[in-house]
């Protein structure tokens, strides 16, 4: 721990800290451009010069390049250093176009700040300015190279940190250019971070370009609610619309960055680009009514149904996009009023998997995204990080950059921006392969295992059976054996129901073998963790149960809060018929969804930007998104500024969904609760782990609600040798057995259809965010070359897939990265895939036909 003196203040810093970091601990922010905590020091801009007065270094030196050492005396205000920094600014400003009045970076520009604070004001350089041609970089990033100060942050972020190569430095000397070889869409789905990382206006947010000045924005800390990671953001609103979203630093979750979906996928909140899509008016039977009338109408309908048919004739449906407030309110109402539900998951298997993940995760084994970066080996178990939770792919890359091997056991052609050892395994093969990998790695330690662990270990070995192990196992299990901090990332989408618990058991076994092993689950939707917690061990109905009851006439009214069964349920025909059998469909939402269109009573819900909302991410971290703006119909076109004065906000009737639910369910009149019930009260009451909300503690931000440690009993017991392995039981192929088992899987059972997530395009949010239309690519179905050959299909063909209720047309991508025996299809918004009788489907070879 070196001690040094900076500007007459003594400071002790961890070994290896740079002087610029040491100064930051004292609150002294030394000017910088190229230095960035996430990217490290490279000494390019020469802006962070300070004077070294005593110690091993002397004179003006770069504070980002020198490790803090004992006995150093550093001055940041020494005249020589100040004059040098002033000169660096002068040099950087020689060619800068000074177009701040028309630059979107204006008001948040590091170059502006350093120029003013550095004291450079008068231009002495008499030459003409250098100019560049800008490039088209796609729909999100605006390029303006004339503003560049060549700090290399963009290329270091883009190439080194994020692992994409299509943007970087070109040319030399003062002709240096940062861009692509030629114009074109940036390939990285993390390109939006260029906007945040650029210290000036070379890369600006194209979607927000020229719309508003920085200082006119309403800004508040928010969250991304696309996936369960809960990346921290700052949302910026203006004139009742969200204008842009930026990354917000969180040392446990997303670090400095977010993905492009989270950054650019907010347009649903504004009703799309033309601001027309979002339903903002309360409706009864399709007619706009006042807010009071809609609330009273819905309340009356529900009272009538309860009186006439009993409370069980009412059912409530939420989803994984609900905030914790909405989910707790749904749960409270259903319990107090004896309604059926709530249902949060449409696929009961996914609920069971998520619940198993939530039960198995404890404070001892759970790792955060930042801890993944420090792993020395990463195993992806039925997890496709980029598509299921994009920022985790970036975290995995950081581990790989530090030398961690990354192994994927997954049926999909998984892509991560780093070297990957991918073992294409059908869902049923995932556990045996993982068992083999972990079993081999802990072999030499197994003698010391306690009985329960030993039983688990035996069960693990039994998983693989007597089949000859594949060739790769020796090398990979060796790597696992020599690792110190392995992390298993386990998915809950394509995996079997037993896999999440099995993965947890493997992590515990690795810990018993002396490793600091960690576990990270991927789930679907920002509210997955909390909904699984709330569903607890109670026997709540599944969505299929509700449909059955509707069909039988037992359910007369359905309350759907921020959810669209038409998006999730695989049998659209049946769902449509059932919905039309209902007497009342009450929808509370911000999407113009099919459910909203069919609702007999509709009430507009506030989005995450318009009301404070709490989410628990997939590692159990409670986070709070603050209200950014009031909401209402965005001011669009017309006069600027608007000259029509009203005493109400047009389109301003929306309410947080939990308040609407509270009102229509009778509010405090029907509940022994105060009239102004606060979220803290009804959240804390729902589950013991929500005690952090006790005594009115609201909002809660940044606290993990995990058991400190679930003893060995829990996870060990969840896996026994005979436990249900799911459809298509262990059919592991050993060498030389490929043909036989393939025949088995294609011949008798057909191919297993895996419906999966895609980064741009499968989430409910992306379906209503037209800002994401320009990203991503046409969806395709992946299949293994052997399967493709056996049904006579080539890469790039268009096929028709005959499903239970009709056919699905899709392009085919044939790749070795896809496991044999599966068809991988994204639940893409542009595909009409909801023609299946169940979530789990097998397709016989004869049902796949090539389209000419």
């Amino acid at each position: 721990m070196p001690r040094l003196i900076i500007d007459d203040i003594e400071v002790e810093v961890p070994g290896g800290s740079k002087v610029i970091e040491a100064a930051e601990r004292l609150g002294i922010v030394i000017p910088r451009f190229c230095y960035h905590e996430a990217l490290g020091s490279v000494g390019a801009c020469r802006m962070c010069a300070v004077k070294f007065v005593q110690g091993p270094f002397k004179g003006v030196q770069m504070s980002c390049m020198i490790d803090a050492q004992d006995g150093m005396v550093v001055s940041t205000t020494d005249e020589e250093a100040v004059q040098f920094r002033k000169r660096v600014i002068e040099l950087l400003m020689m060619n800068h176009p000074l177009d701040c009045p028309v630059c979107d970076e204006g008001g948040q520009c590091l170059l502006q700040d350093e120029t003013v604070s550095g004291g450079h004001g008068i231009r002495r350089f008499r030459g003409s300015k250098r100019t560049y041609r800008d490039q088209y970089l796609g729909p999100y990033i605006q390029h303006e190279m004339n503003r560049c100060i060549h700090c290399y942050r963009c290329s270091r972020y883009y190439q080194e940190f994020a692992g994409f190569k299509d943007l970087g430095p070109l040319q030399i000397g003062n002709r240096m250019y940062f861009g692509r070889f030629s114009d074109g869409k940036l390939e990285s789905p993390f390109s939006g971070n260029l906007v945040d990382i650029c210290p000036t206006g070379v890369y600006t947010d194209k979607t927000a370009r020229f719309k508003v000045r920085r200082w006119d924005l309403q800004r508040a800390p928010s969250l991304c609610n696309y996936c369960p990671l809960g990346c921290n953001t700052v949302a910026n609103a203006h004139y009742r619309g969200v204008m842009r979203v930026e990354a917000r630093f969180n040392q446990h979750v997303n670090g400095y960055f977010i993905c492009d979906v989270g950054r650019f996928g907010f347009s649903y909140s504004n009703g799309g680009a033309d601001h027309q899509m979002r339903p903002l008016a309360p409706r009864i039977a399709g007619n706009a009514v006042s807010a009071q009338a809609a609330l009273a109408g819905a309340g009356k309908v529900l009272r009538n149904v309860a009186e006439k048919y009993g409370p069980r004739a009412i059912a409530a449906v939420g989803s994984a996009r609900n905030s914790l407030e909405v989910q707790c309110m749904l749960r409270r109402i259903c319990r107090n009023r004896d309604w059926q539900g709530p249902v949060f998951f449409f696929d009961p298997a996914k609920l069971r998997k998520t619940r198993s993940a939530v039960e198995n995760l404890d404070g001892e084994i759970a790792v955060s995204m930042r801890e993944i970066e420090k792993a020395d080996l990463v195993i992806l178990v039925g997890a496709d990080p980029l598509n299921e939770a994009a920022m985790s792919a970036l975290a995995i890359r950081q581990a790989a950059r530090r030398g961690a091997p990354v192994i994927a056991i997954d049926p999909r052609p998984v892509f991560v921006p780093c070297d990957l050892m991918h073992i294409p395994a059908a869902p049923a093969e995932i556990e045996p392969y993982l068992a083999l990998l972990v079993g081999r790695a802990v072999e030499k330690d197994s003698a010391g295992f306690e009985k329960k662990a030993m039983d688990f270990y035996r069960a693990l070995l039994a998983k693989f059976g007597n089949t000859e192990p594949p060739a790769w196992i020796g090398e990979l299990s060796g790597q696992l054996q020599s690792s110190r901090r392995p992390v298993i990332i386990c998915g809950t989408d394509v995996t079997r129901e037993t896999t999440p618990a099995f993965a947890a058991g493997c992590v515990r076994l690795l810990r018993l073998a002396g490793k600091e092993a960690g576990l990270f689950y991927l789930m679907a939707g920002a509210g997955s963790f909390s909904s699984a917690l709330l569903c607890g061990s109670d026997t709540l109905p599944t969505f299929a149960d509700l449909i059955g009851d509707i069909e039988k006439g037992l359910i007369k009214a359905l309350v759907v809060a921020e959810s669209d069964p038409f998006h999730y349920y695989p049998d659209r025909q049946r769902l449509g018929r059932a919905i039309s059998k209902l007497d009342h469909l009450i929808a509370i939402d911000y999407f113009p969804s099919e459910t909203v269109n069919r609702a007999s009573v509709f009430y507009p819900a506030s989005t995450i930007f318009e009301t404070g909302s709490t989410y628990i991410n997939q590692e159990g971290r409670v986070q709070f998104a603050r209200q950014v703006h009031q909401g209402g119909a965005p001011i669009w076109g017309g006069e600027h500024p608007p000259r029509l004065y009203r005493n109400f906000i047009p389109g301003g009737d929306h309410l947080p969904a939990w308040k609407v639910l509270w009102e229509i369910a009778g509010g405090s009149a029907a509940d022994a609760a105060p009239a102004n019930i606060s979220p803290a009260e009804f959240i804390a009451a729902e589950n013991a782990v929500f005690e952090v909300f006790g005594s009115g503690n609201y909002p809660v931000d940044g606290i993990r609600v995990l058991k400190s440690r679930s003893g060995p009993e829990g996870p060990w017991d969840s896996l026994t040798p005979g436990s249900e392995p799911g459809p298509g039981a262990c059919s592991v192929r050993g060498p030389g057995q490929d043909a036989g088992s393939l025949e088995k899987s294609t011949g008798s059972d057909g191919l297993e259809l895996l419906m999966v997530e895609w980064m741009f395009g499968t989430s409910e949010f992306s379906a209503w965010s037209d800002s994401l239309d320009a990203a991503g690519s046409e969806p395709y179905m992946s299949m293994n070359p052997k399967d493709a050959e056996s049904v006579g299909i080539c890469d790039g063909d268009r096929v028709s897939l005959e499903l239970d209720n009709g056919s699905l047309e899709i392009m085919v991508s044939v790749s070795h990265g896809t496991a044999e025996g599966v068809l991988v299809v994204p639940r893409h918004r542009s595909l009409d895939w909801r023609k299946m009788k169940d979530f789990s489907v097998r397709v016989l070879p004869g049902k796949i036909s090539k389209l000419i």
Binding site: G43, A44, C45, R46, M47, A49, V60, Q61, M62, M65, F84, R87, V88, L91, L92, M94, N95, R124, F125, R126, G127, I149, H150, Y152, G168, P169, Q171, I172, G173, N174, R175, M176
Partner: protein, 429 residues
């Protein structure tokens, strides 16, 4: 013929390179047979090179033996040698001449160097303008392989070593060791600040020695004749060996000559270059390439060695002597050089990338009659400030400019007061 012993140039012939036979006849490849063939300890080679006092000929003058010894015995394999043939310093052309004169001398030096630290592969890094050198070198490498001096199991021993000619995209910055290594690895040729030093982590993180072509060519001669002989070649007591001097400018016979290191400037110009051109008087010279200081007649008799030039505040650099006469405008000369350095900056750090074009702009204005009084102090400050840049390119580029201001300030002021170049005055009128 020169009155001094010719070592590197002993096989110099008009219009063609020495063949492998001619090289062997002159005693070539005998050190290789003795040391590699005889399996003499590699440590012995390093010892002899250390004793010889050989200093790197690329410009910095680092002791060669010490660089080789920096590769520790326990360092990982494979280890690499790089011969730096990115000769792009203005006025420097010795490596090209040497490669054309006696390529096998360089090849043998490389094998011996590789043997000394157990390297298995060498890269001969050559710039695109030296395509003819690359062609010759590649051809002669094949002869050396056929003769068993290169490739697998050299001379039947278990030592295998091969040389690859790496044709680079070529830029001045590639001459900088770490940038050169980046370029070989297919990365952008930006310098990287040590540590780690290339001898610890160089090419692909493996130990790598980077040497100048001329340095390597000295090695076989040191090993065949001994370190005392090599030190005795010098004209000064502290120097060692001969030196290839490249003389350009206003002399009668410009070119590359091999002379004892430490030969006096006056002798070089008058005896070996036939004196100044008719009607020319010596005004100044750059003693070691474009990144050294202008040296006036005051030091006309200075011994051209690393130490003697250091003592007068200058550098021997690559020993490329550019001679300027009394009719040459040194502002114009400095502008020309700054033009080169500004163009060749790799663009990594601000003082170099933006500061050198700024200096060029100011010099251009002074030379073209747009100079102002404060430009001089501004230039002085810029020259001082580029010392805080990332690598040595910009400080080197500032040398001719700051020495121009120190030594020829009157000439610069004359430009400003006359609003134009006094040397062009007649032509302008």
């Amino acid at each position: 013929m020169s009155k001094y012993p010719q070592v590197l140039f002993r096989n110099r012939k008009p219009n063609r390179s020495a063949t492998i036979e001619e090289y062997r006849e002159s005693g070539g490849y005998r050190p290789l047979e003795k040391f590699v063939g005889g399996r003499i300890s590699p440590k012995k080679i390093i010892e002899l090179v250390n004793e010889s006092g050989l200093l790197g000929r690329g410009g910095a003058g680092f002791p060669t033996g010490r660089k080789w010894a920096a590769v520790s015995d326990s360092a990982p394999f494979p280890r690499y040698l790089v011969a730096n043939g990115d000769e792009m310093e203005p006025g420097t052309f010795k490596d090209r001449v040497l490669l054309h004169v006696d390529p096998h001398c360089v090849i043998e030096g490389m094998v011996l160097c590789g043997y000394s630290f157990s390297a298995s592969k060498a890269f001969f890094f050559v710039r695109p303008s030296y395509e003819s050198s690359a062609v010759i070198f590649e051809r002669e490498l094949e002869y050396a392989r056929q003769a068993g001096f290169l490739g697998n199991n050299i001379l039947g021993t278990d030592f295998s070593f091969d040389i690859v000619v790496h044709r680079s995209g070529g830029r001045y910055i590639c001459g900088e060791g770490s940038a050169l290594l980046n370029a070989i690895m297919g990365k952008r040729a930006n310098p990287v600040k040590p540590p780690p030093y290339p001898t610890d982590k160089g090419l692909w993180d493996k130990p790598t020695v980077v040497n100048n072509v001329e340095t390597l060519a000295c090695v076989p001669h040191i090993l065949s004749n001994g370190p005392e002989w090599f030190r005795g070649l010098s004209a000064t007591p502290h120097g060692a060996g001969t030196k290839l001097y490249c003389i350009s400018g206003k002399v009668n016979f410009p070119g590359a000559v091999e002379l004892p290191i430490g030969t006096r400037l006056s002798e070089i110009i008058e005896e070996h270059c036939g004196g100044m051109t008719p009607g020319s008087r010596f005004k100044a010279c750059l003693p070691g390439g474009a990144s050294t200081r202008f040296m006036t007649g005051e030091h006309y008799d200075v011994p051209m060695d690393f130490e003697d030039l250091k003592n007068i505040g200058n550098r021997l650099g690559t020993a490329a002597i550019m001679v300027f006469d009394h009719k040459t405008c040194l502002v114009g000369a400095a502008l020309n050089l700054t033009e080169f350095f500004a163009r060749e900056s790799c663009g990594w750090c601000t003082p170099c990338r933006e500061g050198l074009p700024y200096m060029r702009d100011l010099l251009w204005r002074i030379e073209n009659g747009e100079g102002q009084e404060e430009d001089i102090s501004n230039l002085r400050r810029l020259c001082k400030e580029v010392w805080n840049s990332y690598c040595a390119l910009a400080p080197g580029a500032a040398e001719p400019v700051i020495s121009l201001l120190d030594t020829f300030e009157d000439e610069v002021r004359q430009h400003i007061s006359q609003k134009g170049c006094p040397f062009h005055a007649k032509a302008d009128n």
